[in-house]
Symmetry: D2
Subunit: 414 residues, 4 copies
């Protein structure tokens, strides 16, 4: 059995003794959020195995993780289009098969009822600190009402423009002062959400290239408060491929001279990235890993085009030119085509399960082993996907062993 075939429910449940886990999604009504909700329903209803989930693989056998069925969804969003409606639209567009959505209405409505208004700079009145407090309270309330052991906050909201540096980002006092000032909207929405996660004592992951927790004072705060976090920008398609392939050239002593990429996509993400400011943050995270793997001499033009008629299918063409023995020319092209949100959703579930484990182990700060999931890993310079795979497996087993030991010693009567 070279691939996982373990059922969703069987995995790790016995060892996990921390109760159900909240999965709080910033941008929970977007495409990824909708697929996450439909997917959890489909797995609970045994309509689908956890294909595409890393943590369902054999390599994670024995690691004490919350069951998929023990994840409870809530979130923040600025959109009011209900999950049910989004799900049916994704069926019409061909992304989701009808059979998974057919019986999902109740589950989707329940999840949708747990989505609270996100931070919207255009409509928010009061200080940003007020927003943080309100949103942290939303999360705390969710945890308490559902009797959850922990909550993991994952940001899957729309990509923001690159954040410029400010002196406040490096000085806790100036930062706090600015945050309380209703006239100074210092932070982007993603960082407000990150602060709310910290404030509510929740683990946090940033699946987008937006700043989120990655502001010096906020990172320090998170570490102080004992919050484990991970990011940045989910690695799903072209970049995943690149970090799996590039080490092959290096291992064989070939010199990659250029690696050009062209991405075509429509859908919500296509529309967002049609904005030249938003696309800049994306392009930056996409190129960083490549340079680190093959050297900064590499010529790497990269384009992302919004092609609305293609809908949610992303197609990426890469053209690689490497130099081999006696200056010989080697060219390779890859064409990748997939529904982007279908690649992302299972990773959100993986991240939730693994961050819950990290939190159970009392880890704090950026966790390098999560680099496996991200284009621009926090706390790590490793981009080689196979090294990341080994690192994640090792981390999961080591952490799992500690968590299980602690659980066992805790229940052992004196």
């Amino acid at each position: 059995m070279t691939q996982h075939e373990t059922s969703a429910t069987a995995i790790g449940t016995d060892a996990w003794r921390e109760g159900r886990v909240g999965l709080w999604l910033i941008g929970g009504r977007g495409s990824i959020g909708t697929v996450v909700a439909v997917g959890l329903h489909a797995m609970r209803a045994e309509l689908a195995p956890p294909t595409g989930c890393t943590t369902a693989g054999e390599a994670f056998a024995g690691v004490p993780l919350p069951a998929f069925a023990d994840l409870v969804i809530g979130g923040h969003d600025v959109s009011t289009t209900p999950l049910r409606e989004r799900a049916h639209a994704l069926v019409d567009s061909g992304m989701l098969a009808h059979r998974f959505v057919a019986t999902a209405d109740d589950a989707l409505d329940r999840a949708d009822a747990e989505i609270r208004p996100g931070y919207d700079r255009r409509t928010h009145t009061g200080s940003q600190a007020d927003a943080v407090r309100r949103m942290a309270a939303d999360i705390t309330d969710f945890r308490e009402r559902h009797g959850l052991g922990r909550v993991v906050v994952v940001d899957i909201s729309s990509t923001e423009p690159i954040l410029e540096d400010h002196v406040e980002f490096h000085d806790p006092e100036l930062f706090t002062a600015a945050l309380e000032d209703p006239d100074r909207p210092l932070l982007p929405a993603s960082s407000i959400a990150a602060l709310a996660a910290i404030e509510s004592g929740s683990a946090y992951a940033c699946f987008t290239p937006s700043a989120g927790i990655d502001v010096p004072v906020i990172r320090s705060l998170a570490t102080e408060r004992g919050i484990p976090f991970a990011g940045q920008d989910g690695k799903t398609g072209e970049t995943l491929l690149r970090t799996a392939l590039a080490p092959m050239f290096t291992a064989r002593g070939m010199r990659v001279l250029s690696w050009a990429g062209s991405n075509l996509l429509g859908g919500g993400d296509g529309a967002t990235l049609a904005d030249p400011e938003a696309v800049r943050s994306k392009l930056a995270t996409k190129t960083r890993g490549l340079v680190s793997l093959v050297g900064d001499h590499v010529v790497a033009p990269l384009h992302i085009d919004n092609v609305p008629d293609l809908g949610d299918v992303k197609t990426a063409w890469d053209h690689i030119h490497a130099e081999g023995f006696l200056s010989s020319r080697i060219t390779m092209q890859t064409i990748w085509s997939a529904y982007d949100s279908m690649l992302a959703a299972p990773l959100i579930l993986d991240i939730a399960r693994l961050l819950a484990l990290a939190a159970a182990d009392g880890q704090r700060g950026a966790i390098p082993a999560f680099g496996f999931f991200f284009k621009d890993p926090w706390g790590s310079d490793v981009h080689d996907f196979s090294q990341q795979t080994i690192a994640l497996h090792d981390w999961a087993h080591a952490t799992g062993t500690r968590v299980r030991a602690a659980a066992e010693s805790a229940v052992t009567p004196a």
Copy 2:
């Protein structure tokens, strides 16, 4: 520095104390053999760095290996077209740059003068044992005349049809009897060559899908005689790619449903593989690794077509269909285009250096860590290229440490 930039001459020479190493090529007048000879000349003349050579990479820093400049070429071939002529033809075909061949005539003539007639079933008279003795003597004579520390034999001759099993292959006595019988040409040429390697006490590698040493009685003999060996079928293009990519799907829990491949090539290898019998051995070794990596449910049609007008450039198209979350369709295509022999030649140099090290360490039998170089690794079931990379690095450092230690204790005065 993410890629090697060390010069050819600087690598490991100080630590290596075993003298010059003979590189005896079965099929030495073929494309690969010609590129090997031109390449060694170009590196000696400092016209080219060892790009494309694995062992020139940083990962091998400190491993005591013979210098490229200390490899001396000889071989067997049934062709009489001199290397010089082959090299100029490869310039005309666009494979070799003129600048590397321009000054190579003398070096090529010297190497060519060391190529002896190979075993040719159609013209050979006498028993196959006679052929083995004559060819072993060729190798021994070569070693002695050049005062070489060791010789490594690498088979890069034309691919043979799949070898059918015989009772003699499992019984040393029957085997010896048949071998001495002039009327029973039991073995293919590649196995005669393997026996000659053993007989002359040389390490051996099989870069083709032909049987070579891989006949039970011959393998046993090799091990008994203390011969280290490695194979089988050099992993250079499409298969290399597959074994680098397939683990990515598995790591992410995606289920690869089909992996179809189409290879187009002309040149000598194209002509050989136009023979449906010869191509069967090639197709077999190419598919084995894939199945082992993604599971035997995979549908994997594979074609190799002889397209003479394409010359020595091989172009391979692969189409991969994987299933992701909620049965979502993921398709990926790869197009690889390169001069096959330019990919192969540096690996021959790597294998020669590393097998010399293995021999210096007294290793015997199939060496699993060499799986890195082969489509169908002997002594190993590992096909994942990144795992193979780690295994090779580990092996090289461990072996190197022993060899250096032995060398140092040997020279230490009492």
Copy 3:
């Protein structure tokens, strides 16, 4: 307006005075047949414009053709799976959008009720002449019950192996004798169907590479009886592309040296073509056009692989190598991906409309201008798609003018 935007109903109906037209499909319960039936429903219900239909284009404005809405479906098939069930299965497989099938049940049931048992050699008792008579009666009965002006028979049944020649195929008397002999099943099913078409006085088209009407005595009979016919093997994907592209190379004086192709598909057609005999007929028709366009020096390996997991989407990769100025290398690759039956279905409608016109004009024998639709055009050696386009336009207007003139003179009072 560079593409047709005319609505289904508006086209040519006023000029066409021959009443409704029967579209009798041999293999009517297959994928193509199902899409044809769903498509006619969708156009009648104004759910879909006639996108993909050649005859809906501006170039056919003014040509008197039966309206799409005036086509009535019947047919023969050996399968008993109803159209309704097939249609829903095609929705599940992703080929047909749910919205077109949602309201189609009644229309599909009506069409399905007009499908009679096809000729099945394994179960048929009696002579083949009996089968022809029974099937011709089915068609005549259909025409009369529905009060149709004409019927057009189109063969879209499973591809048969290449038909070997027989002396009976060239001698009407021997032929008739064999046909009446219950012990001599001389003809393949496709030719029985063609005879039934002739017998019932219906125009005929062969959309498959099977023999059909293309047996010398049958062709003569058709011409004698005044039957217009067209074939052979619908040109929809890779071959369409080739005949559009190849003339470009010729026009520019480039020499195409090789044109390799690899086709991957699953579905019903994939399964049929997994049979090496059936695939031979397909490969033959596919290569003929290419050779005629670029010269018989071309090296053109071609593969069709059955890859069940790909379902009904066909993916074709072509690799073209041409020689340009001063022997310069030009390579081009095309990758085509589409639901094959969705490409074929609108052509069936086009053929029905245009063959009805031919019949109204009293044309008989193979009609060269229909080469536009076929891989291996009967009555023509033209494969260049743009020349075929011009020829079809010219033919349609010339024929239309005659038909309209005849209709007008017929209705003119004395």
Copy 4:
């Protein structure tokens, strides 16, 4: 014989009675110019047939055109690197085969000696009218010294930024005044060259997207002076392909929704197009034809990236999404890879031969039939490559017939 095999010398020479023809190249020391010069030498020396030349095809049999051997090269350039040096550099880069250049030194030196300094705004002193007069004199002098029947001027110099409109461009008097004013450099270099062509009475073609003759007052002047001209921007690779393919979709009633393109190239042209201003003119001419063929609803993102390591090989990836029957998705991808200048050079020879014919026939103004050669045809809205092919053939035969008739009546004794 589906492709031309006629030898260079045999074509049409007997019928052509206008003597040798000068081919005056603006930018004659660039890549294309160098290949033109090497190619003429190779054909004269019978080292190469005219593969890649349209006018060498069967379709032009009987058209009275100057022989390739009767073309004499001269030109203007701002570079002083001699052709011989450029040619050897193109051998090193792999673009030109050594065998064509090996014996070309003398021929290249002769051509190089006929290249005069081009107009360079940075160094020119005096009015632009002075420059025009000097350059026209260069051409006239060349014609007279070589006793040429006619000269054809073809602009193959570096692409200029898009030219902004000026009131002077529409008013002959203002225009002349500005031109004589040393302080007002009104025109780009390409238009100075076009004026010099007119002034010297030479036919003119613009192979670049630069303005050249395409300034209203200059076009009028050319027509007045009886100058035939043709343009604009040579159609060689991706755009050629698009105009051959797009009509296929339209003919079959499919609706092309998007056509995205990505071009990678290095070399001189790559460097020029790295300038965002220069690339704008190129992108404009590339997209115009597409829109005209498939409708202006098409989404057509297009990128040209300078990737220096790729050298002169241009690789273009196109992704086409069309809608078929019942909204079915059809995707097609093309990958084109060739040495751009090798595609362009034979067209320059074709244009020279055909413009000489046009001039012999006394044609003036933009010649629509030359649209075959250009991305953005002057005097025509036809982009469909097969229609252009037919138009060119028709034009050549009609013109040739007149020219031959005139020649024959001229030589007929009274």
